[in-house]
């Protein structure tokens, strides 16, 4: 009898996994997460001028994070561990360390959702408030505090938040940075009013109010009779005529935005307008002028055709939670000013990228995407895609506030401008065409052409003149050949042609894929047209990657080209380097 029970117990034990796996182990709770580790070992490279001492003897860089989310019904809690030991090249050394810069607990009761801890949030398109993170950029401006979302009736979403923002590893204490407070409302009229429920026109209205409180520093500045600011050493010839002034800095800086989205059939129109109060800060050269911005998009689309038009106008809209903060990497941003140019996926098309100029910029973009249908004369058996895109960024008009006071003079109103005025100085222009065609079950091709104008002084150094403009033409051919269901070869052939800057480039990439497990690639970007013959360098790379479900491991050896890495219009400077890079990412 005893033996019988033992047998049954064993059988239950043996069959347990069958039942067990279909249920949650932690009685209703579940832990998920992801991990990514990037590690680089740097080598000396005399061609790139890299030696152990230029690397500050930091031969090894490692950036890593691990996210854990626990969820159980309406309760969620999570945290992210980060480690930078040492930060990889191109990341600010102030990131060095290991810790938990992000944790939160969230609870949902009915239509109220409360978050305590760190959170990311966006009001409208972000013109007055957006907190977000982008690991590849080392960008994180999360807010630490409270955030509530509440929907009192159908079609209405209200948000409120208060908190302080992340600054590397430095905790918020002794008012070392400002406090951010915000309110936002979204009103979907067709959901709110029954009479509009059936209407073909869909209208969504929204508005935000954001304010920053900061215990302002007691700050003075000195300037000479020509409005030139004199530093403490008194290095201008007029130093003996200087006058010292006390800044009149506001403790509270408010901003607001209003937005509307109207859709009807294939049409969609969006507009958001924002204003910011007087906010002298290190980014705008301490001027007292108010700021404003407008961002608007219009699109029409139907199956096979998409038309898109966007414009924006930005005037003195840098908004940070600490007025003395400026420069790179961008930290403590309260708002987000989207760059209006298109982000390109091919490497030579991103040699000259664009990022928003927060102190003043006019931007325009249009795009046509057209699909020549399958089995049509021009479309061929599999159809053909054509995308044409154009974007432009220019200065806005800035007039003197009064005769004798130069534009942007510290401690003045800075400048006068008219709403939506367009200035004379080009920042960026990009015209591009892409054709995509599948010829048969084995061969696919993409052909792209880009014509870019890049104002290097403005974009890279904030020097507002037109004496260093780069005109570049880029051509790309991307061919995929499929041997069978699992094996394929992809080649990318690229050329960049310019008479300015570093001259012409050519790039070739071969990538062999075995789906769904591994890939191997060789790549070379060759700056053959560099006017300095010592700088005609091959930036070669060998990579190998292995995928297994949600685990991915890759190794790369080679040279990294110096340049700007941009995601979403925010850029990070990446210095040239040579070495071995490992990447491990995993989700569970």
């Amino acid at each position: 009898m005893k033996r019988n029970i033992f047998v049954k117990l064993l059988l239950i034990l043996a069959l347990l996994p069958v039942f067990g796996f279909s249920q949650d182990i932690l009685s209703g709770g579940k832990v998920t997460g992801n991990i990514q580790v990037d590690a680089q070992y740097y080598s000396e490279d005399s061609k790139l001028g890299i030696s152990d001492s230029s690397l500050n003897y930091k031969k090894f860089g490692m950036n890593g994070f691990a996210n854990f989310i626990y969820s159980n019904g309406d309760f969620t809690a999570g945290m992210r561990l980060e480690g930078f030991m040492n930060p990889m090249l191109g990341f600010d050394p102030r990131y060095e360390g290991f810790g938990v810069p992000y944790w939160f607990a969230k609870y949902k009761v009915g239509t109220l959702e409360m978050t305590a801890g760190h959170f990311y949030e966006q009001f409208g398109s972000g013109l007055v408030l957006r907190s977000w993170e982008e690991w590849t950029l080392g960008y994180d401006n999360n807010i630490y505090g409270f955030n509530a979302h509440f929907s009192p009736i159908k079609g209405v979403m209200l948000k409120g938040l208060v908190g302080t923002q992340r600054y590397f590893w430095e905790p918020y204490e002794n008012s070392n940075r400002g406090i951010v407070r915000g309110l936002d409302g979204d009103f979907f009229l067709n959901d709110m009013f029954e009479g509009l429920a059936e209407s073909k026109t869909k209208i969504d209205l929204g508005g935000s109010f954001v304010s920053r409180y900061e215990k302002v520093p007691n700050k003075t500045f000195s300037r000479d009779s020509a409005y030139i600011v004199i530093n403490e050493l008194g290095d201008t010839s007029e130093w003996n005529q200087r006058t010292t002034y006390q800044y009149n800095l506001p403790y509270n800086v408010g901003s607001w935005a209003a937005r509307a989205n109207i859709a009807n059939g294939g049409f969609n129109f969006y507009v958001e307008y924002a204003q910011k109060g007087n906010d002298p800060n290190a980014t705008n050269n301490y001027i007292y002028k108010k700021g404003s911005a407008i961002y608007s998009t219009l699109s029409y689309s139907t199956k096979g055709l998409g038309l898109f038009l966007a414009t924006k106008w930005i005037d003195n809209m840098s908004y940070k939670s600490k007025l003395t903060e400026s420069g790179n990497p961008p930290m403590l941003d309260i708002n987000y000013l989207p760059a209006i140019t298109k982000e390109h996926p091919y490497s030579l098309a991103t040699v000259y990228p664009y990022a928003t100029k927060q102190n003043g910029e006019f931007g325009l973009q249009w795009q046509i995407a057209y699909n020549l249908a399958k089995n049509s004369t021009l479309g061929g058996k599999y159809g053909t895609n054509i995308t044409i895109n154009y974007s432009l960024a220019r200065s806005i008009r800035k007039d003197q506030v009064s005769a004798g006071i130069p534009v942007d003079s510290t401690g003045t109103d800075g400048y006068k401008t008219k709403f939506f005025s367009i200035g004379d100085l080009p920042y960026y222009e990009d015209f591009n065409i892409m054709l995509e065609k599948k010829f048969n079950t084995k061969v696919k091709a993409k052909l792209a052409y880009y014509n870019q104008t890049y104002n290097k002084n403005v974009i890279e150094d904030d020097i507002f003149d037109d004496i260093n403009i780069v005109h570049a033409k880029i051509a790309v051919l991307d061919l995929t050949y499929k041997f069978d269901a699992k094996n394929s070869l992809r080649t990318e052939l690229q050329g960049l042609f310019t008479k300015e800057d570093d001259g012409d480039w050519a790039a070739l990439m071969l990538e062999y894929n075995v789906s769904p497990t591994w890939f191997f690639s060789v790549q070379d970007e060759f700056n053959y047209g560099n006017p300095v013959s010592d700088k005609q360098i091959h930036y070669y790379n060998l990579s190998f990657g292995y995928n297994e479900g949600s685990n991915r491991f890759s190794v790369r050896y080679g040279r990294q080209r110096e340049g700007l890495l941009c995601v979403g219009g925010v850029c990070r400077y990446v210095p040239a380097s040579t070495g071995l890079t490992f990447t491990l990412t995993s989700s569970f």
Binding site: G306, G383, V514
Partner: protein
């Protein structure tokens, strides 16, 4: 007694291995407020397909392998629906810089997937996505049963196999 224990132990090993080779639940779809492609509010709990499997891809207009993945699936999507009744949600993580150009792009490309906008990465974070493309397969009960990072030419064949397994497991 020893033999019996051995037999039970080997059965234990066998059932463990067996249950692993079958489709298993990784986690439930989280509830996150994002938007549909027209900018209207959309809660991710409403990702559903009348009890049939769903494919969720995370992508962006600037992500090269994502565009390849979608073009490849677009070619066979009608066949997949006929064969399995599967539905695909393509979640764009484009931020406000390019999110408004997603709808005209999707239409211009002629894709038939449901498209969602996750402008500030709320859904992306809740699903533990590092970089796009990242693809999930959800069974008819709203449980994520499979995930995959990256896209290599031909990967879509595996998606279809998993979808078929998820259909059978029901």
């Amino acid at each position: 007694m020893k033999k019996l224990f051995l037999a039970a132990f080997s059965l234990f090993i066998f059932t463990t291995a067996f249950s692993q080779s079958e489709i298993k639940t990784l986690f439930n779809l989280p509830s996150v407020d994002i938007k549909n492609v027209k900018g209207e509010p959309f809660n991710t709990k409403s990702i559903a397909n009348n009890g049939k499997p769903v494919i969720i891809t995370f992508w962006a207009t600037w992500c090269k392998p994502c565009m390849k993945e979608h073009d490849a699936i677009s070619d066979v999507y009608a066949d997949w629906i006929k064969e399995t009744g599967v539905k695909m949600y393509a979640v764009s993580i484009d931020n406000s810089r390019s999110s408004k150009s997603v709808l005209p792009l999707v239409n211009g490309k002629g894709w038939d997937f449901e498209v969602l906008l996750d402008e500030n990465g709320e859904f992306k974070r809740a699903m533990n996505v590092n970089v796009p493309p990242h693809t999930f397969i959800v069974n008819g009960k709203g449980e994520v049963v499979w995930q995959h990072v990256g896209y290599l030419e031909g990967d879509e064949a595996e998606y279809l196999e998993i979808v078929k397994k998820a259909l059978k497991a029901k």
